[in-house]
Structure formats: structure tokens, C-alpha cells
């Protein structure tokens, strides 16, 4: 009995104290806080070019940098499959501008300082991405084993002219408007179209630059496959409406459990509240993003979680009506209902797992929540609820069939 009281009091305390903080930390999806999501299909700018995993990754990274540069909050960029990039941006004021900027291919330029440029500013474009031989930039090591980047340029004459003019001066590498690392200095006039760039780079930096040059030489063309844009007001409205619907639905389910099953119903309700709290906790800890279909899964899951309690309690009642004592009814009820509930839940998990494997975006999110929810409900509404009930019965707090909602007249003699 003491362990029962302590468990209930401690859990209630923890839930009451932590819930407001947890709710604030749940990450909301774009459909709830407003923003837009675009799925891009990437293909090489020039026909005949190939799309590599690295160039897709690189393009995704440059999209993210650009989104950050545009001052958007937490852009999320992920690659999907072999040729897709998904971009999610929240809280954008000028959506049209952002979309236009995003679609432009990353522009690689080599620049020199114009007359009148402040130190560190390079505004004269000397070479553009298409001047480079595709895929030719690679990392090498010089005689002192320091990493350097070798490049080759298609137009040898042009490169010779540039290196001659800029001998001893700096030639800066830009991706879009971002200067990549410290600008290297031109040390010789190069006539064969080949050059190596060194400048005390670390191996990672050198690789990064080589990748960027290769990407710049073969930029990917992005086309919007799918887009979804939600206004912030509309998102808030969806969130409020759906949460309200969930609260009303849950309260009715709780009342139903109390009326139907009396004291065991109270235990089931407590397990259900614990289940909901744990689910929110998992959301925060695993950093899941809550979307509208996610909330729907959440709410449906509450209805599904109590199924375990209904099946258990009905079974216990049945055992009592057949004339068994309270303790043996509870034992038999817990045992047989456990198997039933597990079988039923496993089938739902099978479907959810398939949805997770085949689904994209919202479907995947929904399926994931459903799986987490079912697993949690096995812990709370099956194991935990069974335990609570057994403890109470053992302590003698539950000793009349009436407390289970069973009429004395329904009990048949053994």
C-alpha cells in the first residue's frame, strides 16, 4: 500500500512540475507554426552531367548556408533518395524572395580586388564555375606534405592572362557572396591551365574547397517538386483547434473509464495521464517535430491506449461473475488480457512500421508517433496499470465486487 501511495504521489508531483516546461520545449512543425517546405528535384545543370551523392550533399549544404544568410530561423535541409532535397524554413517574412534565392544554383567565382576595394574585399570576377574542368579539383600534398588543391582551367590562355596580371596579388574564392577561407596569392604565371592552391589549409578545409570548386563547375539545377506553405496565423489556429479537440476527447474518455470501471477506472485514467506525459517527454528528449497529423496520431493513441485497460477490466469482471474471488480474478484477468492486448498491439505496430518504411514527410511522422505510442501504452496501460491494481488488491483496498462495477446478483456460485 505504501509503495502504491509513494508511486502515485511522486509521479503526480513530477508530472505537475515538469509538464509546463516540457510543453514549451516541444518542437512544432511548419504546419503548426507557419513557414514553408519545398521538396526539390536536383539534376545537373548541363545535360550529360552526372549527379553524385557528394554534389547533392554539397548543394544541400549550400542551400542551408543561404537560408541562414537570409536570416531565417532554423532552416532544416535534408537529402532524400538520390536526387532530392527537402527544405523547411519557418518564420519567413518575404517568402517569394527566399524561394527565388534558394532556387538559384550556387555560384562559384574567383575574384580579384578592384581598384578602390577596401582590404579584404574582392569585387572583380576573374573566373566563374564553368571555367573549371569538371570534377578536376582534388586535394594533393605538396613537398612538405601540406594539403593543397589542384585545379585545372578549360581556357589556358585566359588563365595565363589572369595569373600574369595578378602575379603577387590575391585571388579570392567565393561561393555566392561568401568568401571561402583566406584568399591565396598568385605565385607564378601559369600557362598550362593547371594550378595548385595552397595556403596553410587543414586537410578538411582543402577538401571542402575542392568539393566546392567541383560543385561550382557542375552546379545542380533545382526544380520544386512539392511545396507547402502555411501562414503563421493559420498554423496557430490549426494547433489550437486540434489540441482543444484532443483535450475534450480525452476528458470524455477519462469520464467514461471512471463511470464504467469505478476504482480500476481511476487507475486506468492515471495510467493514461502518465502515458500522455511520457509521450510528451519522448518528444522532447528525442527532439521529434510535432506536426498536425502527429497530434492526430497522439489523440487517437490515447483512445487506443485505454483499450488495454478496458480489455483487462472486462476480463476481471468476467472472472468475478463466474464466482472467483477478487485476488484470483485480478490475477487471471491480468494474465489472459495481457496476451490478447499484445497480439492486438503487434498487428498495429506491423502496419505502423510499414507506413514508416514507405511513407514520406507527414506519413512518416504519423507512423513514428503511433509506434512510440503503442510501445509506451504497453508499459503504462498494461504493465503499470496491472501492477497498480494488484498492489491495491493485495493491500485489501479493493475487496468488494462493487468496486469493480460488478453487481452481487450477477455473480454465479462456483
Amino acid at each position: 500500500m505504501l509503495s502504491f501511495i509513494i508511486t502515485v504521489v511522486v509521479l503526480t508531483g513530477v508530472m505537475v512540475f515538469t509538464t509546463p516546461g516540457l510543453l514549451d520545449r516541444v518542437r512544432l512543425g511548419l504546419d503548426l507554426k507557419g513557414g514553408f517546405e519545398i521538396l526539390y528535384h536536383a539534376e545537373p545543370m548541363d545535360t550529360g552531367g552526372t549527379l553524385t551523392r557528394a554534389s547533392l550533399q554539397k548543394t544541400a549544404e549550400s542551400l542551408e548556408k543561404r537560408a541562414n544568410a537570409l536570416g531565417t530561423s532554423e532552416p532544416e535541409v535534408t537529402t532524400e533518395g538520390t536526387d532530392r532535397i527537402r527544405l523547411k524554413i519557418a518564420g519567413v517574412t518575404d517568402e517569394a524572395e527566399v524561394r527565388k534565392k534558394m532556387k538559384e544554383p550556387a555560384v562559384l567565382t574567383f575574384r580579384s580586388a578592384n581598384e578602390g576595394d577596401a582590404p579584404g574585399v574582392y569585387s572583380k570576377i576573374e573566373l566563374v564555375g564553368s571555367d573549371f574542368v569538371e570534377g578536376a579539383a582534388e586535394v594533393q600534398r605538396d613537398q612538405l606534405n601540406r594539403p593543397e588543391i589542384s585545379i585545372s582551367i578549360k581556357d589556358k590562355k585566359k588563365f595565363a592572362e589572369i595569373t600574369e596580371r595578378l602575379l603577387g596579388k590575391e585571388l579570392a574564392i567565393y561561393l555566392d557572396e561568401n568568401l571561402l577561407s583566406a584568399p591565396p596569392t598568385v605565385r607564378a604565371v601559369l600557362t598550362d591551365g593547371k594550378a595548385s592552391i595552397s595556403g596553410g589549409y587543414t586537410l578538411d578545409e582543402a577538401r571542402e574547397i575542392a568539393d566546392t570548386i567541383n560543385l561550382g563547375a557542375l552546379p545542380l539545377k533545382l526544380t520544386e517538386k512539392y511545396s507547402q506553405s502555411v501562414g503563421a496565423t493559420l498554423g496557430k489556429q490549426s494547433l489550437d483547434e486540434t489540441v482543444r479537440a484532443g483535450i475534450v476527447g480525452s476528458v470524455i474518455i477519462l469520464i467514461f473509464m471512471l463511470l464504467m470501471y469505478r476504482l480500476p477506472g481511476v487507475l486506468a485514467s492515471f495510467a493514461l495521464i502518465l502515458h500522455t506525459w511520457l509521450l510528451i517527454l519522448v518528444f522532447v528528449l528525442a527532439d521529434f517535430t510535432l506536426t498536425l497529423p502527429g497530434i492526430a496520431a497522439f489523440i487517437l493513441g490515447i483512445g487506443m491506449a485505454v483499450d488495454a485497460n478496458i480489455i483487462t477490466n472486462e476480463r476481471i469482471r468476467e472472472e468475478m461473475r463466474s464466482g472467483k474471488g477478487i485476488m484470483s480474478s485480478v490475477k487471471a484477468g491480468n494474465k489472459t488480457s495481457f496476451r490478447t492486448v499484445m497480439d492486438a498491439n503487434v498487428t498495429t505496430i506491423i502496419v505502423a512500421a510499414v507506413m514508416f518504411a514507405f511513407g514520406t514527410g507527414a506519413v512518416k511522422g504519423f507512423a513514428l508517433i503511433l509506434i512510440v505510442e503503442i510501445v509506451l501504452s504497453i508499459v503504462t496501460n498494461l504493465y503499470f496499470a496491472h501492477w497498480l491494481l494488484t498492489v491495491l488488491v493485495k493491500a485489501g483496498a479493493l475487496n468488494k465486487p462493487k468496486q469493480f462495477g460488478v453487481k452481487e446478483s450477477d455473480i454465479s456460485a462456483l
Binding site: 512539392y226 493559420l234 494547433l239 487517437l300 483512445g303 498495429t348 505496430i349
Partner: protein
């Protein structure tokens, strides 16, 4: 709440078979002739949802739509402080911006949700959905066959495909919009509606252990008894999920309305099929097994 008399579910199921078959045929006819009312999720095009600070009429909105200068004629649905505009053609970024601007002239507090999909993407979504249904069914067949026996597996698959198809049929007959959340709803129904069926089958399996069922009458009695014993819990468990789906439908966000509706319909069919379709179907399969089982016993 307990029935003293035994209801003959097996006998009653004959009428429900007719009902289900009739609805299936009607659904097939509608699907074949009218198909489904696909939303932009499945059709190339753009869907614009607008939340306004005041209600507008179509007459007020028309000039704004014309101003936007988009050639294609949209389908416009006006709701309370809400407008849905649907184009069969994808809107370009520039077009959606001009549309937003011209609607903002009517109501500067308007908030938009714009979805655009191209056909290739939509086809992929539909294909994945069909794969999901097939693969889920196979998964369930395997699991139920292992835990129970193949007759239970077959009967439960028929029941759950019935539930899923009924939802599709109702959506086709009433021309309700099918979007991606609809697919999620159908898949969830497949996963959930089997729960009730499993509860009843679990009871049949348990009752089978108690006594020897010699005749068809014995088996029939056993099925009726099992359905009866689990009837209230089947109804209650369906009820709690139904409550959740029902409140999502009447109070939840606009964009999951069709999802909630599909869930509500599916749950009703799920409870119905668990009681009247699945168990009698198992009995039908079991009955045919009887003579075959006797032969090895004689030998």
C-alpha cells in the same frame, strides 16, 4: 448491460454479408465510373487555403482572383472566414505571390496555406500507399498465422480489407476529397480495426480448448458465445477511439478534417466487421475443414 439470451450472430451475419457485398459492389461501380475525388496531393495542381479575418462572398472574391492574372479557372469553396481555391495547374512562385497580394487587398490579415504538387510526386505517393496496404496485409497474415492459424488470418484480412475498402467506397460515393491524410487514415484503420477482431478470435481460440466441438452446431454455438462474451469490450474499445476521432472531426484543424472523417467511418465499419463478418467467416472456413480432418483420424 449483459444479455441473458444468446444472440445468433452467425445467423444474423447472412444479412450483413448481403449488406457488405451490396456496398462493395456499389463502391466498385462508383470507383469504376467516377473514381475518387483526388485532392492536389494526387493531382498536379495547387491548393490555396486562406484564413480570413472576416467572411467574404464569391462576388467579393472574384475580382481579386481575376486581378491575380492566372489563366486557369480555379474551383473556389467559400467557408466561414475561410476560402479554398484550387487550381488544376501548378502555380509558379510569382503567381502565388500575386494571388496573395490581390487577396490581401480584400483582407490584409489573410493567412495562407499553399500546397503545390507535380504529378510525378503524386503518383509516387499513391504507389507507396498501395505497397503499404499490401505489405501490411502480408505482415498481418504472417503474424496471425503464427499466433493463431491461417483461417483466423484469412478471416481477419478479409475483415480489414473490407473496412479499408468501405471507407474508399464511401469517399467515392459521396465524392469526398481524397488527400494524403486519407491514405494515413486508411492505413491506421487497417492497423486498428484488426484489434477488435483479434480480441474475439482470442476468445474463440480459448473456448476451443475447453471442449470438443463435434458438429457444425457446436462450432456455431461456440462462435456465438465468443462474440457475446467479448461484445461489450469490442464496443467499448471501439468507442474510446471513436470518441477521439469524432472530436478531431468536429473540432480539429481544417487540414485533418478528411483524415478524421475517414477514421470515424473506418472505426464504425471496423467494429461492425469484427462482430458480423470476421467470426462467421472463420466459422465458414472451419466448417469446410471438418471432413478433411476426419480422414486421417480413420486411417
Amino acid at each position: 448491460m449483459r444479455f441473458k439470451k444468446e444472440l445468433d450472430f452467425v445467423h444474423l451475419s447472412k444479412f450483413f454479408y448481403i449488406f457488405s457485398i451490396a456496398l462493395t459492389v456499389a463502391g466498385l461501380v462508383f470507383l469504376a465510373t467516377f473514381g475518387l475525388n483526388y485532392s492536389v496531393d494526387f493531382k498536379a495542381g495547387s491548393n490555396v487555403d486562406v484564413a480570413l479575418s472576416k467572411s467574404v462572398t464569391l462576388a467579393e472574391l472574384q475580382p481579386a482572383l481575376k486581378d491575380a492574372g492566372i489563366e486557369h479557372e480555379p474551383t473556389v469553396t467559400i467557408g466561414d472566414k475561410r476560402v479554398n481555391i484550387r487550381y488544376d495547374q501548378e502555380l509558379s512562385d510569382a503567381q502565388s505571390e500575386t494571388l496573395k497580394k490581390s487577396i490581401n487587398k480584400i483582407d490584409d490579415k489573410a493567412s495562407f496555406e499553399i500546397n503545390t504538387v507535380d504529378t510525378e510526386m503524386a503518383k509516387e505517393l499513391a504507389r507507396n500507399a498501395i505497397y503499404s496496404v499490401l505489405l501490411s496485409s502480408i505482415g498481418i497474415i504472417i503474424y496471425v498465422s503464427i499466433r493463431f492459424e491461417w483461417r483466423f488470418a484469412l478471416a481477419s484480412i478479409v475483415a480489414l480489407l473490407h473496412d479499408a475498402f468501405m471507407v474508399v467506397a464511401v469517399f467515392s460515393i459521396f465524392r469526398l476529397e481524397v488527400d494524403i491524410t486519407f491514405i494515413v487514415a486508411v492505413l491506421t484503420i487497417i492497423g486498428y480495426s484488426i484489434n477488435d477482431t483479434i480480441v474475439i478470435f482470442d476468445r474463440i481460440r480459448e473456448n476451443l480448448r475447453f471442449g470438443k466441438q463435434k458438429s457444425y452446431e457446436d462450432l456455431k454455438h461456440l462462435v456465438n458465445k465468443s462474440v457475446m462474451q467479448t461484445l461489450m469490450r469490442s464496443l467499448y474499445t471501439a468507442f474510446t477511439v471513436f470518441i477521439a476521432a469524432f472530436f478531431l472531426l468536429i473540432m480539429g484543424g481544417e487540414s485533418i478534417r478528411m483524415f478524421s472523417l475517414a477514421m470515424v467511418i473506418g472505426l464504425l465499419f471496423g467494429a461492425y466487421s469484427s462482430i458480423f463478418i470476421a467470426s462467421p467467416l472463420w466459422l465458414l472456413l472451419k466448417k469446410n475443414q471438418k471432413p478433411a480432418a476426419k480422414t486421417p483420424a480413420k486411417a
